[in-house]
């Protein structure tokens, strides 16, 4: 394992700027998740590190060596693709052994067998080692693809939305599994996703990408509770953060220049209106089982927030709403302290 240092890297495809002036340092053994919508430059970043793309500007150091001009084979990275990129005519065993059989390694066959069997157990595919890779379910294929990366001990594991094509239950299982394996191996890992739950649960640090620019990087906690701007705030939290114009509700203590107030569930206290004064009306209570989504109309704005499953509020109730230390954003979208 090694650290990876990206300095001021830019990459365009024709007119399209994919990554612009990216600086990112991934420490040895760190799990960094890049989070962003489609087209934010996440995959391009991975491909740049793997050497599948060459940067237009900037440098990439892997394990202290300048790897900017090296070919993918010379870089010692392992890549898990979003698609099931298995070698279709090979068995699961041969797929897992494929990287180890590279002539560059000259690994004896019995050692390969041991390594493959260990990894197969790790990704829970050992009972299907002799199956053809095309005879597997989607989840199994992706476990093999992850396993094929894990058999190696590369400088860094690069994972491009490896769980996005799986069903929800399997995604949850593999999420935990991957995090466990990463911790076990002490692996350096850069993981790309657009799923905030994956990012929040697995990452040591989350990097938020938007339009090829790294907007903010920090621990999941920091990204969640101290977002740098409106974009970052809107990426995390379920239900999504409520962005309300300043002055809609009483906001004593808002710093000067506040244009927008961001309020998640924990930033709002909602009570049934007493003594005739009300801020809003309950629109609808959405029952999800373990919790409820509460939809409230305030003036022309709608709020969505979480509430207890046994909430006394019902449709049509008039409510008072107060902020509890919400997030303040200025006219430029940056958060005000």
């Amino acid at each position: 394992m090694a650290d990876v240092h990206i300095r001021n890297v830019s990459k365009s495809f024709g007119e399209q700027i994919a990554v612009s002036g990216l600086d990112l340092h991934i420490a040895d053994g760190e799990f960094v998740v890049l989070l962003g919508p489609t087209g934010a430059g996440k995959t391009t970043t991975l491909r740049l590190i793997a050497g599948l793309e060459r940067p237009d500007a900037g440098t990439i150091h892997i394990g202290g060596h300048n790897a900017t001009a090296l070919s993918p084979a010379e870089r010692d990275t392992a890549f898990v693709f979003q698609q099931y990129s298995l070698y279709p005519h090979l068995s699961v065993y041969d797929n897992l052994a494929f990287p180890l059989r590279s002539p560059a390694r000259k690994m004896p066959e019995d050692q390969i067998r041991r390594r493959v069997e260990d990894v197969a157990k790790m990704v829970r595919i050992h009972h299907k080692l002799n199956n053809r890779s095309t005879k597997l379910s989607g989840g199994e294929m992706q476990r093999v693809a992850i396993g094929r990366a894990l058999v190696r001990r590369p400088a860094i594991y690069l994972m491009d939305e490896p769980l996005s094509s799986l069903d929800a239950k399997l995604r949850g299982d593999l999420r935990l599994e991957l995090k466990r394996i990463q911790a076990e191996l002490g692996a350096t890992m850069l993981y790309v996703t657009h799923d905030q739950i994956e990012a929040m649960t697995m990452a040591d640090r989350i990097g938020i990408l938007a339009d090829g620019v790294l907007v903010q990087i920090g621990t999941p906690r920091a990204i969640y509770s101290e977002p740098a701007n409106l974009h970052v705030a809107a990426r995390l939290g379920q239900p999504a953060i409520n962005l309300l114009p300043a002055g809609l509700l009483p906001d004593g203590g808002a710093p000067a220049g506040t244009r927008t107030i961001g309020a998640r569930t924990e930033h709002l206290s909602i009570d049934k209106a007493a003594n005739g004064h009300a801020d809003g009306v309950v629109d609808w209570v959405e029952h999800l089982g373990d919790q409820n989504h509460l939809h409230v109309t305030v003036g022309a704005k709608k709020l969505v927030t979480l509430t207890d499953p046994d909430t006394p509020l019902a449709k049509g109730d008039k409510v008072t709403i107060r902020y509890r230390a919400p997030l303040y954003f200025g006219a430029d979208g940056q958060r005000l302290m």
Binding site: L52, S85, S102, A104
Partner: protein, 315 residues
């Protein structure tokens, strides 16, 4: 509401047509539509096949329609299987099929692989390569006859330029050992593009990310070729071999135009023998039996082959 919609649709259909169509079931209508094709198939494919099977058991001669037709049982078949000339013709055919397929597959796949590199102008070169395939066999046969001319032909001239052998010694069509190769060369020239096209489709179907995965896994180009390119393109290559194999087993036009089976009977492939027996010796019953044997042989071989192909595809 629903009823009203159905009613208005019914009313929109012109009354006489609606009444006529109502009497025919869906299945009847389907038969009505495919009946012209079925009749045509029966008339030009199925009937002649059964007629030929019937004739193959007789001594019928098409040039003597008034002679009494005798039933010979399996005598025609027995005589064919013991006929030395027939076996020589089959060997000639096998030789021809083997070499054309080998050359066309090797050259066709190599061309497809090169075109798939997507170098500058690859679309232009694809079109150029495809030209021979689009020509009529009659045209191809005739102009290769000119090319092969020892006195004026470009082919002999080019070979003599490279090898130093005088062009008049390069008698492609009349030399006993060169004549089979003259046909193999023309067939390869004409049909390699077809094999290339099928192989190209196979190569284009391999997703780019598999190569990228292999590259990150440190597989050399050589290893990528053997463990990704070739196995994934194999079903397509096999398909091309099947098509070319069936076509060349019954090869007639090019041989007939270039050598007519000669010199002697060195290029006399099965279909030429068949034509000679049927339309020069007028042994209609005998040649029908031979045709049936050829048909069964091609059909059987193709079936075995398709089974193998399916096995490869399922992997």
């Amino acid at each position: 509401m629903l009823n009203r919609t159905a009613d208005s649709v019914a009313r929109a259909t012109p009354e006489p047509l609606a009444r006529k169509v109502r009497g025919i079931s869906d299945k009847g209508l389907a038969w009505l539509f495919i009946s012209p094709t079925i009749l045509l198939l029966l008339a030009i494919n199925i009937f002649p096949l059964f007629w030929a099977i019937y004739l193959s058991f007789t001594n019928y001669r098409a040039n003597r329609p008034n002679e009494v037709v005798k039933n010979l049982g399996l005598a025609n078949y027995r005589r064919i299987l013991g006929d030395q000339d027939i076996w020589i013709a089959m060997q000639t055919t096998a030789h021809f099929v083997f070499w054309t397929i080998l050359l066309q597959t090797l050259i066709g796949f190599t061309l497809a692989w090169l075109i798939d590199r997507k170098f500058r102008g690859h679309a232009f070169w694809t079109t150029i390569i495809l030209v021979p395939m689009m020509l009529s066999p009659a045209v191809v046969g005739n102009f290769w006859r000119f090319l092969y001319e020892p006195q004026i032909g470009l082919f002999a001239y080019a070979i003599s330029f490279v090898s130093g052998i005088p062009p008049t010694d390069i008698q492609m069509l009349s030399n006993v050992s060169l004549a089979p190769w003259s046909i193999i060369i023309v067939d390869t020239w004409m049909w390699t593009p077809y094999v290339m096209l099928i192989c190209l489709a196979g190569l284009r179907s391999i997703p780019e990310y598999i190569y990228e995965a292999a590259e990150v896994d440190r597989a050399s180009n050589w290893r990528q070729f053997w463990s990704i390119t070739l196995p994934m393109a194999l079903p397509f290559i096999m398909l091309a071999v099947l098509f070319r194999g069936i076509e060349n087993f019954k090869m007639f036009d090019m041989v007939n135009l270039l050598t007519g089976g000669g010199p002697g009977s060195t290029t006399e492939v099965a279909s030429i023998t068949l034509k000679r027996q049927a339309f020069e010796s007028w042994r209609t019953g005998y040649s029908s039996a031979f045709a049936i044997i050829l048909f069964v042989a091609v059909f059987g071989l193709a079936n075995i082959y398709v089974k193998a192909l399916n096995k490869v595809k399922q992997r």
